[in-house]
Amino acid sequence: MTELIVGLAGNPNVGKTTVFNQLTGMRQHVGNWPGKTVERAEGHFSHGDYDYDVVDLPGNYALSAHSMEEIVSRDFIVDDDSDVIVNVVDAANLERNLYLTVQMMELGANLVMALNMNDFAKKKDHIIDIKLMSELLGFPVIEINAKTKDGFEELLTTVEKASKNPIDSSEKLSYGNEIKGHLASIQELIEQDSSLLDVPSIWTAIKLLEKDSIVIEKVQQSSKSSQIMVEVDKVASHFYDVYQEGAEEVIANARYSFIDGLMAEAVKRPAVEKETTTDKIDRIVTNRFLAIPIFIVIMYLLFQLTFTIATPFVDLIDAGFAALGEYLAEAVGNEMLGSFLQDGLIGGVGGVLVFLPQIILMFLFLSILEDSGYLARAAFTLDKIMHSLVGLHGKAFIPMILGFGCGVPAVMATRTMENESDRLLSMMLIPFMSCTARLPIYSIFIAAFFTANQGLILLSIYLLGIVVALIVAGILKRTMFKGLSAPFVMELPTYKVPSVKGVLLHTWEKTKGFLRKAGTIILGAAIVIWILSYLPMGVEYGSQECVLGMIGTAIAPIFAPLGFGTWQAGIAILTGLVAKEVVVSTFATLGGLEEDDEEGVTQLVHDTFTPLSAYSFMAFCLLYVPCFASLGAIKQESNSWKWPLTMVCITLVTAYIVSLLIYNVGLLAGFG
């Protein structure tokens, strides 16, 4: 068996992941690139005598030092010992796709082109002479259909052949005599230093002219650096004199003229482009007047379907774990072990696994929305709101809305945003959207104090979350996330029928990740909370005498300025870290009541709170640290502990300040 390392490279939405899934199926692993938040999907399969190791590279338009995704891709092409780079290309959109191809040629990559989406090209009446194109490019071009696997056999045998005779694809590249001459003068200097020759000198010369920060840094290490940089400046100013444009524009124009030449020879297109199905759908979906109503209907459906279909399953899992816990506790007989199993293990992990149905459904619907091309339209429609209010990308809207259901899938949904800082900022805002787990808390307090205007009080809590999120976003954008705003240049991909296999695999990957997390971080946290509630030996589980109770008593004074400095509230806040609905069952336990004795809990709450301190407590529960499950999700999605910890700090400070304001302004206004 010969091992073959193959990278799949191309623009976004060209079918890379579809090809990857078709080749590797379930034998794939999705993680992150070392030290980066960029997703890395790798998979294995064998074909004939070859063992393939395939990497699905991020979708890029260029190979600059512009974004993490682009750096990851070009590092893979340059550094990793990849044998072949398969450039997946959208045949219906050749011109722009070839721009990336040309840059990979500058890198001298050992390329094979997989021409995909030929069905769309045919619909547009584009006729591509594949043989001629392959000749002009200097490497093989294979027609495939990622969805039906047509042409895969030929693609793989071509890849195997290419791995045996690697080519330098930069050879056929021609940027015209004028530019070629000037590049050559820079290349000549570069070639005098062998330490710079791990990549073709034409690539280094071009990147220097494009002021690529990473390449400049590398060249500065060279003994020839001053000569090289002087020559680069000379060429750049000469370009400016000749073309009245910066070197970057001159290079981009040169790339496109090479592409234009190739297109003119190898592709026949109608003089006037036909109207496509996408154009027709877009006349309705992004229509000025219809776009927002359509968005609202789709979001409503997404929300309703996710949470209503999930509810019976959630209840089932919930009841199942409760029964299992009770059964085990009885079967074990030993009081301590029984409590550990029932309250600690099953209670903690079960409390998180109940989210599973919601997560599966949400990913199912979200994958469909994304793959079909709708998500990009929603971002287009809503960008103005998100951008002017919080300085975020239009796509940030969807995680925010999902946050009203459950923070865990919402955090995972931030994956649809390409830009890292946008993704992180939206994650920081999600906990302020009041998730359904917090609803039981409000119900108890509203039942105890605000029966007269229930709806209004509940609405005010939800609105408070939104307003606070907007203010926090504004502050973060001016501090932590300063200057990181990404410009909004977004492709609106053509509408497509999503592939069932792709949607299911994506959903499975996410679910697996969530399960793994439930098995580790959340299990650990649940055990810690159980130990703190159980010790010292002999005290009642979760009472004032246990360690958790002592901590609750100790921290109670901290909450006195907020109006609820009681040990019961202290414990409830601590246990609420596991999951927000636990706040209610904690009150039940503390009052020595049955967990579902709502009237008893309401009475208890009525005795320990005033209306004002109750409202302040609800606001605190709304805003403080989200549950372990969503912190775990943030850890997983951001690939670092920094962000969940940041979130803990942000939410604690925010919750404290807001509750303090509510209570004290309330006191002054005479609501005491």
Partner: protein
């Protein structure tokens, strides 16, 4: 002097040049997306809330905010 942000839906224009005031990173990104001198751009529509703008360039659809489009001179 006309910029891309002034173009009405349905109109087709040709890219002339970038203003020097624009963000360099953004310009590099736009160059990669096909916004080079001489490129034909057809504005399709403006979003419901007046921004961003959807346009067709080099055979595909892309959207830009007005604040970004106003640094691109067209005719």
């Amino acid at each position: 002097m006309k910029t891309l942000s002034d173009v009405k839906p349905g109109e087709t224009v040709t890219l002339v040049k970038y203003h020097d005031t624009g963000d360099v990173d953004l310009r590099r990104h736009l160059l990669g997306m096909g916004f080079v001198r001489g490129a034909q751009i057809r504005v399709k529509q403006v979003a419901s809330l007046g921004d961003p703008i959807e346009m067709t360039i080099k055979g595909y659809d892309v959207c830009l905010r007005k604040e970004e489009a106003k640094n691109i001179e067209v005719e």
